[in-house]
Symmetry: C2
Subunit: 104 residues, 2 copies
Amino acid sequence: MSETEIFKVLSDPTRRAILERLSAGEATATDLREGFAITQPAMSQHLAVLRGAGLVNERREGRYAHYSVNAEGFAPLHAWLARYRAFWPSRIDNLKDLLREMDQ
Amino acid sequence: MSETEIFKVLSDPTRRAILERLSAGEATATDLREGFAITQPAMSQHLAVLRGAGLVNERREGRYAHYSVNAEGFAPLHAWLARYRAFWPSRIDNLKDLLREMDQ
DNA sequence: ACGACGTATAAGTCTATGCTTATGTGTTGT
DNA sequence: ACAACACATAAGCATAGACTTATACGTCGT
């Protein structure tokens, strides 16, 4: 998925809230509506967008759609952001060297 | 800056390209236009948005505006993304413990 | 002082997106 | 078989955002 698409998808607060909810575990589309002042089609559309971006997985079980976070979908975001980690706390700056050591 | 704002700002490919250019070093607004098929006001507006989100710094020098990456502005993004690092390569999963050790 | 320059702002246009209501599709229980 | 259910899709509307042209603002060189 393109970086542009991922950023667009995540720029919606409702979708980020959905992801946060899903990070606590799988949930159905109806489950997810609790706590959100949102109609069913709106939720369905948000989930379709998240699915399209590869940020969530869908597991079909009869008439229920179980959604969960697809952490691999965040890889492009991690990769992009890594370019701007130059000013991470200095401890973390040493990470690369550290990992190199760990590999040996 | 709110996560929503940061994601929106970064969802524009031109703005991400500007950041990439700036990550190679400071540049003026006019410098930045090279290589971009973009009018001067459009560039100025993008820079205003980046500045507003705290992602770039402006250094005024006479009639020139020198822009540079403000890496601290990426902190909210790092913090948010950290929640979804559960599936980072397993080596990195140990980072937290590692850093804890380093502090001692 | 004045004109060229570097940049910012204003105002309008066009498209993208998130919402709504209405409806379609497949599944389950009786 | 049929009604209720879980979810998806369609179509329309309203707002946001990225662009344009025009113009304003401050700075520099002559």
